[in-house]
């Protein structure tokens, strides 16, 4: 069975609706990336240096990351030599397979959130300015509320003007409480209060907002470490998840963000936002490849329910939808 067939079968078992959302949300990505690959394969009957160069260009344009692309191209080159592939068409499935492999989570790594019933679960959100932390918290609060969980929000962004109000608006929309202090207060103190409140109210899930900070600001990263320490001290095992929120339009700097936030706040997963633009979010491949941090959720639109668990197979399926359709057709014909 071909690789695409297997991938498709794996997808079929998943809910149609979610697949649709991925397919829609990634429409732009798909158009750009897949059409280019298709076009490339069509134009080059034979694989030569120019072919690889153009492929490299396509991948880099998707923000996949220079190092990762170079590695990938090298692997493909040796694969071509080993299997004596001449036809560009034959390389296509190998490429897709390698891409999925890059994104696929190891069995040891859980792509789901570390949430358990019957205890207080704390999720800390971190990231640079303007990536969509507060919005993601709003969407996630909505998601947990739908699941019948008791949710509490902590307004830990005490720096940016009106960040607290922004979270409060989300609290109202979703119907959950927000623990807050004044602007300019110590974020660690807000988080402390929030944990106490969550304990006494018997909350299932506490979502903690923090102020956006650029990862090279040492003092601000220290502040984040302090928040992390307070959480650890006040609740054994907390924070159960530290999610780095990443903007899909971000380029190579995302690697630096993942590295530094990983160090200061012990990031356990990534939420990739704004994937519904023309951006391809290819940088998650680089992050996955170089830092081994799994992507857990993706933001695919402006609506409250546009936050979806990340599924590498869905992601690649959405990226290569055109290719998959083609190939399965090609396979079914001889059978018929």
């Amino acid at each position: 069975m071909s690789f695409f067939k297997r991938l498709r079968d794996a997808i079929v078992q998943k809910s149609e609706a979610v697949t649709q959302k991925f397919t829609d949300g990634l429409a732009k990505t798909r158009d750009l990336l897949v059409e280019k690959v298709e076009d490339l394969v069509r134009r080059y009957k034979k694989i030569d240096e120019n072919f690889f160069e153009e492929l490299e260009e396509i991948l880099i344009t998707a923000d996949v990351g220079v190092n990762t692309v170079m590695e990938l191209i090298d692997e493909l080159r040796s694969e071509v030599r080993k299997q004596k592939i001449e036809d560009a068409m034959d390389l296509q499935p190998i490429l897709s397979e390698k891409l999925v492999a890059l994104l696929k989570n190891d069995d040891s790594m859980d792509a789901g959130l570390n949430i358990e019933d019957g205890r207080l679960n704390v999720i800390l959100f971190v990231g640079v300015n303007g990536v969509g932390k507060t919005t993601t918290i709003g969407k996630m609060a909505h998601m947990f509320k739908q699941q019948g969980k008791k949710v509490l929000l902590a307004a830990g962004d005490t720096f940016r003007a009106a960040a607290i109000e922004q979270l409060e608006v989300w609290g109202d929309r979703v119907g959950v409480d927000v623990i807050k202090h004044q602007q300019g207060a110590d974020p660690a103190a807000v988080i402390y209060d929030a944990v106490q409140a969550a304990k006494s109210r018997g909350v299932d899930i506490l979502l903690c907002d923090t102020a956006g900070r650029l990862q090279n600001k040492v003092n601000l990263m220290e502040e984040l470490s302090k928040v992390h320490r307070v959480l650890q001290r006040e609740l054994p095992g907390a924070p159960h998840e530290v999610l780095l929120v990443l903007d899909a339009t971000t380029g190579q700097n995302a690697l630096s963000q993942a590295k530094t936030f990983g160090k200061s706040a012990g990031v356990t997963g990534i939420v990739l936002t704004k994937l519904d633009g023309t951006a391809k979010g290819g940088i998650v491949i680089a992050i996955r490849n170089e830092l081994n941090i799994p992507v857990k959720y993706v933001g695919l639109g402006e609506r409250m329910d546009d936050l979806q668990p990340f599924d590498p197979e869905q992601f690649v399926h959405a990226l290569f939808a055109g290719l998959i359709a083609q190939e399965t057709e090609g396979e079914q014909q001889p059978e018929a």
Binding site: V66, V128, A161, W170, T249, T250
Partner: protein, 468 residues
């Protein structure tokens, strides 16, 4: 993070290229590969990189290498000039309408930093004794209006708002009337963040533009944006006809290649750079600084500039002619020393060389020792300087006394000078041969001291003396 690694990578690529007088195809291709990677890693758009590299290549091939530079440095110099050129050359100004108020409209993706930048721009105008009005036209994001109001309070700048139930078009219209009535001379309209592919919201922006007739439409771009920056900029520009760009979050460690992409596809100047959390952290954009940042070249560029200024080309040519005839005199040595010293203190020079920073501690360059050597050479008579053969024991004794050194030092210097002379003769031979020998023997200048010679830290590491 990629900073040092890039600089040293370029360095190692250029090391291979040393000793060529002209920039040929091979040199350029080698250098361009590294430059291309550097630009891609800095998030410059692929297409922009391609065009750029092609242009630099064309310009660089066949160029005469400045006497003081290696071919690699020459290529970088061209790259840098082209980069600055591409990014707009000069610092751009904010428009001022002769019929106030001047209307400035901010646009951009979500989270680029429009609202914060609006506040910063108000502060910037305030410092120039202008009276800005902030207009809260972001009716979509929760608490966006509140955010602008808080900023307005902090700055003591009026904020115009009609709540989040009135259309941005209406808000803009009334805001301008309000500004006119209150004699405010700048109106800054903060719009909601939107995807450039969101047709409904882009249409709304066009309507705001119709009504407000802004003198400036500024696209706010996150400096960390990756390859997608071109699509965003292109789309906003074609739909709104931008007048300029503001780059935000430049205080991060991003190399900011987005700047280049945006400039290249829109042709619109980058007017400001936002570099910090505070409200006064908005600066006019300097293309030259951005160029070195994108290249990650540190101070190599300023070193190249220095070398350019300091080296007297005429003298260098004359020296080269003499050298080809196998001459090398103390006069020439003094000239060469002088030219090098024009570049500044030695330690500083070392610090500016990529990859040399580490060595700064280990290579001891004794400035005093240099002075002594110079004193010795200067204590010679004219005849002695041009004809080193004359230096017998009695003359050496006199020179030692005249320069305040000992005979031993004078002897050592003369011996080292002879070594150099031998080396110089080989210089005139095949360049490759020279390179090998130089490596074996250690081409030490007298002032490098014993440690320098033994450690194999040859003086002209990368920096060539003005003669070849």
């Amino acid at each position: 993070m990629a900073f040092e690694s890039l600089a040293s990578r370029l360095q190692s690529a250029f090391d291979k290229l040393r000793g060529r007088g002209k920039i040929d195809e091979a040199v350029v291709s080698e250098a361009m590969r590294e430059v291309r990677l550097a630009l891609l890693e800095a998030d410059v758009n692929f297409k922009v990189v391609k065009d750029f590299v092609a242009r630099v290549k064309e310009r660089a091939v066949g160029q005469e290498v400045l006497k003081s530079l290696t071919p690699g440095q020459m290529v970088i110099k061209i790259v840098n000039e082209e980069l600055i050129e591409l990014m707009g050359g000069n610092v751009a100004q904010l428009a001022a309408s002769h019929r106030p108020p001047t209307v400035v409209m901010m646009a951009g993706l979500q989270g680029a930093g429009k609202t914060t930048t609006t506040g910063k721009l108000a502060k910037y105008l305030q410092k120039q004794n202008r009276k800005p009005l902030l207009v809260a036209a972001d009716i979509y994001r929760p608490a966006a209006i509140k955010q602008l109001q808080v900023l307005g309070d902090q700055l003591n700048v009026p904020v115009f708002s009609l709540g989040d139930q009135v259309s941005p078009v209406e808000i803009a219209k009334q805001a301008i009337d309000h500004a006119k009535a209150n004699h405010l001379d700048y109106v800054i309209i903060d719009t909601a963040g939107r995807l450039h592919i969101d047709e409904a919201l882009m249409e709304e922006l066009k309507q705001v533009r119709e009504v407000a007739r802004p003198d400036e439409i500024l696209l706010v771009v996150d400096a960390m944006t990756g390859q997608d920056a071109v699509n965003v900029a292109e789309s906003f520009n074609s739909q709104l006809e931008l007048t300029g760009v503001i780059l935000t979050k430049l205080d991060g460690d991003t190399r900011g290649g987005a700047a280049l992409s945006v400039k290249a596809v829109t042709g619109k100047p980058i007017k400001f750079a936002a570099m910090g959390e505070k409200l006064d952290a908005l600066e006019p954009f300097h293309p030259d600084r951005m160029a070195s940042r994108i290249l990650g070249m540190g101070d190599v560029l300023s070193l190249i500039e220095k070398a350019q200024e300091a080296v007297d080309e005429e003298k260098a040519k004359e020296m080269e002619r003499q050298m080809r005839q196998g001459e090398f005199t103390f006069d020439m040595f003094l000239d060469a020393m002088q030219q090098m010293r024009n570049l500044g203190p030695f330690e500083d020079l070392l610090g500016m060389m990529p990859g040399m920073n580490k060595m700064k501690g280990s290579v001891k360059v004794d400035e005093k020792q240099i002075a002594r050597v110079e004193a010795i050479a200067k204590s010679m008579t004219k005849e002695e300087r041009s004809n080193p053969e004359l230096l017998n024991a009695s003359r050496r004794k006199r020179i030692a006394a005249g320069s305040g050194t000992t005979i031993q030092e004078v002897n050592r210097f003369i011996k080292q000078f002879d070594e150099m002379k031998k080396m110089m003769k080989q210089f005139t031979g095949v360049a490759d041969k020279m390179k090998k020998k130089a490596k074996k023997k250690g081409f030490g200048l007298p002032f490098m001291g014993k440690g320098g010679n033994q450690g194999g830290n040859n003086f002209p590491f990368n920096f060539k003396p003005p003669f070849k």
